[in-house]
Symmetry: C2
Subunit: 210 residues, 2 copies
C-alpha cells in the first residue's frame, strides 16, 4: 500500500495541495511541481517527493495534469469512499466537531453524537442528531459506523472505547488525555490539544535560542 | 538545543510519560525505562530513546529518579515558563479551546478570546473574557501575549494573522484551512481536524488491505 510509505507530514500537506489545485482547475490544465512549490512557499524537493509518493512522477516539462492529480490526491486521503463516523461526548468540543464542515472533503461523514447526559434525541446547531447512549448499539448496526470519536472526560474514555469496539468500530479518534486499551487491530489516534500548542511553544523557544 | 533533536512523535509521548509518572510519584522513588515501557504498552527502545533525548540516560539498575524525570520532561515541553495565549474567533471551536483546562499542564495560559461579532466584553462558560476586536492591540501590549490561536473562517484568517504579527505575537496556531503569509521567524502550526480524521481512516484502510 502506498499509504504506508507516506509520512503524516506529507498527509498534512495534501489538503494544501488540493486547495490550491481546486482553485486553479479552471485556469490551467497542467501544473509543475516547481510552480506548486513556489506558490505554496514549500521546498521544491519536498513537493516533488510528496507528489511522487501519491501520484507518481509528473511528465517532463508538462508536469501534472491537474484533474488527474486532484483525483490521485483525493483517492489517497480516502475521499473516494464514504466513511461513517460518530462522536461520543456532546460537550463543546464534541459539538464543534459535529458541526465542523471540513470532514466531507475527505469522504468522512459525522452522522451523530451520543451523550450520557442526554435523555431524548436532540439536535446540534447545524441540525445533526444528538442521541442518548441507549441508542448507540442500534445506530451503529444500522449505519455501518466505521470510526468513533471520543470527546468524554478521561475518566470515562476507556468505557466508551470498550463500547465502540463492542459495536464493531474499526478506528478511534481520542481527545481524552488518557491511554486506551483496545485490540491491536483497532488504530487509535490521540489528539492532544494542549500538546499541539506546547509543540508550537517549543518551536518559539528553540527559535529564540538560535 | 535539545528541542531540535526531538521529533513530534516523542513530544506526543511526553504527556503520557508525565501522566504515569505523576500518578506514581508517591509510590516509588525511581523508575526504569523497562517498567515505563511495560506499563504504557510502548516499545522499550522507543522509551529509552525518548527519555535519553530529554533527560539523559537513566542510572544502570536504578533507572530514573521520578521527580528529576518529571522536572526534565516539564522543562522540555516548556511548562517551567508561563506563556500567554489569546484566541481570535469565539465560535464553538474557539470557545471549546478557551475553556479547555489541559493547557495549564504545559505552562500555557489562554487569557481571552476576541471576536469581530462581539460588541462588549462577555464571558465564556468558565468565566474567561471574550472581547471585541477593538480591545486587541491594548490587551496584547498589556499582557505580553506570545501565541495567537486563529479560529476564524479561512477567508478572514490572513487578516487576523497580519493583526497578530503587528501586535508582536511570536507564534500562530491556525485552525482555519488556509496557508498564511507571515514573516519567516514566526512559526505557524496548522491544525486540520479533517486531516487528522482522514489520517486515521487511511490507517484503517491500509490495515484492511494487509
Amino acid at each position: 500500500m502506498k499509504q504506508n510509505e507516506v509520512s503524516r507530514a506529507t498527509m498534512g500537506r495534501i489538503p494544501t495541495y488540493l486547495r490550491y489545485l481546486k482553485d486553479h482547475i479552471h485556469t490551467t490544465e497542467n501544473i509543475s511541481a516547481t510552480t506548486l512549490a513556489q506558490q505554496l512557499h514549500l521546498g521544491e524537493v519536498q513537493v516533488r517527493k510528496d507528489l511522487n509518493a501519491v501520484s507518481g512522477a509528473g511528465r517532463p516539462k508538462t508536469g501534472y495534469n491537474i484533474k488527474a492529480l486532484i483525483a490521485a490526491l483525493e483517492r489517497f486521503v480516502g475521499c473516494d469512499e464514504k466513511s461513517s463516523v460518530v462522536i461520543v461526548g456532546a460537550g463543546k468540543l464534541g459539538r464543534a466537531l459535529l458541526d465542523y464542515r471540513g470532514f466531507g472533503d475527505y469522504g468522512l461523514e459525522i452522522l451523530a453524537a451520543f451523550d450520557a447526559a442526554v435523555d431524548a434525541v436532540g439536535q446540534s446547531n447545524s441540525g445533526k442528531p444528538i442521541h442518548p447512549m441507549c441508542d448507540f448499539a442500534g445506530f451503529c448496526a444500522r449505519n455501518a459506523v466505521k470510526i468513533g470519536i471520543i470527546t468524554v472526560p478521561a475518566s470515562d474514555a476507556q468505557q466508551v472505547a470498550d463500547l465502540l469496539v463492542e459495536n464493531g468500530i474499526r478506528g478511534i479518534w481520542c481527545f481524552a488525555p488518557c491511554t486506551l486499551n483496545v485490540p491491536p487491530e483497532i488504530p487509535v489516534q490521540y489528539e492532544n490539544m494542549a500538546l499541539s500548542l506546547a509543540y508550537l511553544n517549543s518551536k518559539i523557544i528553540s527559535g529564540e535560542s538560535l
